[in-house]
């Protein structure tokens, strides 16, 4: 990491230290565990979004995809609505549902040539519609012990979900660093037309990246279901924008070609530390959103100071 990447980690440390001095509960081991546990789902979703942002596209389908996969998984594992008890297979199918919806986004992008902003907004609506269809008026509650245990059982002090998120980060990092898919996603954000000139067909990679992102959201939906013990249509509410915020706060550029999983991990922690810290120091619920917005803007502003270049373009 060069100096120009140092901004977000520094901001993270500063914000952590500030909250730690303000509140003794904040710096307790319990709370640090809590922050990491709470970050799990956001981290997984952000993993997915990061790849899309790296390509310079934008991705707003997380809410819909997560809703669909949450309903799917809750109806496939042991639950109160039907007799299914597919266990891990059910989870895999739910992730596939996510991947399929992601694939739809990617295909619409490259085949219809519709900007990702709109495509993913549309797919989000489709995902929510599918979820509502599956929901059919009765809340599916899961009774699958394994899925339930993910949120409850702990290993080395952290819940299984947190470890799953950590694994996703590692996998994401490996994909980004060591696979053609990851490097091409990065390159597409840098100069898509050059890839074409070099004889690379970018379309399959774009579809693959959206599919990968969809799979991550699918997993996110499963994780939310594990946490809530029920499949909610609203499982992914708000994750679309908070994941983009996390990625950008971490230093990923919305114009593509810069950033990555590690950046996003820092961004996720920053956002979670902030949400948690504001509650811990007792900021009024009325103001929390506002203060958070202010700090995010300030953090990004501080983080870009070392990167200010001549004639820099900011969109």
């Amino acid at each position: 990491m060069s100096l120009r990447d140092a901004g977000p980690p520094v901001a993270l440390v500063v914000i952590f230290v500030v909250f730690a001095t303000l509140s003794s509960q904040f710096r307790s081991i319990d709370n640090v565990q809590n922050i990491l546990d709470a970050a799990a789902v956001l981290a997984v979703v952000t993993c997915g979004i990061t790849f899309v942002l790296m390509m310079g596209s934008i991705e707003l389908s997380a809410a819909g995809v997560m809703g669909a996969s949450a309903l799917a998984v809750s109806l496939l594992v042991a639950n109160n609505r039907n007799d299914n008890d597919l266990g891990l297979l059910g989870i895999a199918v739910a992730i596939l549902v996510g991947a399929a919806l992601g694939c739809v986004s990617g295909l619409a992008l490259v085949l219809l040539k519709v900007p990702s902003f709109m495509v993913t907004l549309g797919v989000s609506a489709i995902g929510l519609g599918v979820a509502t269809l599956l929901f059919a008026g009765v809340q599916p509650n899961i009774s699958d012990t394994m899925l339930e245990s993910w949120a409850v059982e702990r290993f080395l002090g952290f819940s299984y979900l947190t470890w799953i998120a950590a694994a996703c980060l590692v996998v994401g990092w490996l994909i980004q660093r060591y696979t053609r898919l990851g490097r091409y996603a990065f390159a597409i954000g840098g100069a898509e037309e050059v890839l074409t000139l070099s004889g690379v067909k970018v379309e399959p990679y774009k579809v693959a990246v959206f599919t990968l992102a969809g799979a991550f959201y699918g997993l996110g939906g499963v994780m939310v279901t594990s946490q809530l013990g029920a499949g909610l249509v609203q499982a992914g509410d708000g994750y679309d924008f908070s994941a983009i915020t996390a990625a950008v706060v971490g230093g990923t550029l919305l114009t593509g070609g810069r950033g990555g999983i590690l950046h996003s991990a820092v961004g996720v922690l920053l956002v979670m530390v902030l949400t948690n810290g504001l509650v811990q120091v007792g900021v009024s619920p009325y103001w929390q959103g506002g203060v958070e917005g202010l700090i995010v803007v300030a953090a990004v502003a501080a983080a870009v100071i070392p990167q200010r270049r001549r004639n820099q373009v900011v969109k």
Partner: protein
């Protein structure tokens, strides 16, 4: 009977007088936020059931909790044939009721609203706004507050999960909690956070509050059952399930089950299926002339519906929805009035 006030914009060219509609002419519209939660799904189902019982169908509208979309749909519905239109509407927030009422009034449609309405707006000032039905949020907030206090033995710290801050339901219920706290002096409100009636948000907030206040938390007061269920999950994940009392409002099926299992202390009934049917029933009765607006008692034009505190003792009565067709007969539509809106 009243003469319709449809000569302004809507209602077609004939000044149809109230009560002149043939039963088959009546058009039933039920509108709620969405179909993706059990409560509102049961509301629409109740509406369907009633419509079926009178040989009609209900037009189901949902607006995703989006105020503007609700208004857009209402004005579109009112732009159609409104002569025998009956609407049973859940306004998204207090501010949404006024335009709905004014629009329906202008178009001459029969309207029943539920839950949200500004205090100054009164059905008695309008001809075809037949009734406004709600549950007494202050009372329910207080009831579960008291139940919580009792469950933790009258003393100890509790945390409160608030609903969407700018809704009347959230405010009333929280006011009820405060009243309860005044009474139960041993109970201390450690913290209160908004979790926006959402299960997921409640989970996250509760976890944070649990680490913040640790073992001091003896009880959790939630402004609705969804949040209470989220809090239950948080307790389980924190390894404190069963050690902290949880209360909510709404009596969604999962909460009732939780009360039965003893994981939740109390909830308060509100009967979505009945709400979905009753609004249409009142409108239908008036539109077909079986009931006259003038005959509806003033205290029934805006009323609190009966609600019950559900605890382990009486939970058995609430395991099955207990709406029955006779509730919707024109003579019985005001059976569940618990008192006029104060």
């Amino acid at each position: 009977a009243l003469t319709g006030c449809s000569e302004e914009a809507g209602g077609g060219n004939d000044t149809a007088s109230a009560g002149s509609c043939a039963p088959t002419e009546v058009k039933l519209v039920g509108q709620v936020r969405n179909e993706s939660n059990p409560y509102e799904a049961s509301w629409l189902a109740g509406g369907d059931a009633f419509a079926k019982s009178v040989g009609l169908t209900q037009q189901r509208l949902t607006y995703d909790g989006d105020s503007t979309k609700q208004q857009e749909q209402i004005s579109q519905v009112l732009a159609g044939d409104t002569k025998c239109l009956v609407m049973n509407v859940l306004p998204n927030g207090d501010s949404d009721t006024t335009p709905i009422v004014k629009g329906a009034d202008r178009a001459g449609a029969y309207l029943v609203t539920q839950w949200n309405k500004p205090a100054e707006l009164k059905p008695t000032d309008y001809g075809k706004w037949l009734s406004h039905i709600t549950y007494n949020g202050v009372e329910s907030g207080q009831q579960i507050g008291d139940a919580l206090a009792q469950a933790i033995g009258g003393s100890g710290g509790i945390i409160a999960l608030q609903g969407v801050l700018d809704t009347a339901a959230a405010k009333d219920r929280f006011a009820g909690l405060q009243a309860s706290l005044k009474k139960n002096t041993g109970v201390k409100l450690l913290d209160q956070q908004a979790a926006n009636f959402s299960r997921a948000e409640a989970l996250a907030v509760t976890k944070t509050l649990l680490t913040k206040h640790g073992a001091n938390v003896k009880g959790i007061w939630a402004a609705n059952d969804d949040m209470a269920l989220g809090a239950l999950e948080a307790l389980q994940q924190a390894g404190r399930a069963g050690k902290v009392a949880v209360v909510g409002i709404d009596a969604v099926p999962d909460a009732v089950t939780a009360v039965k299992n003893g994981t939740m202390t109390a909830t308060v009934s509100s009967d979505g299926g009945w709400q979905g049917g009753i609004g249409l029933a009142i409108g239908y009765c008036v539109a077909t002339g079986k009931l006259s607006v003038d005959d509806i008692a003033v205290e029934n034009r805006a009323f609190f519906a009966e609600q019950f505190l559900i605890t382990k003792d009486n939970v058995a009565d609430f395991l099955q929805p207990k709406t029955n067709p006779s509730d919707f007969e024109c003579g019985n539509v005001f059976n569940r009035v618990a008192g006029p809106l104060s």
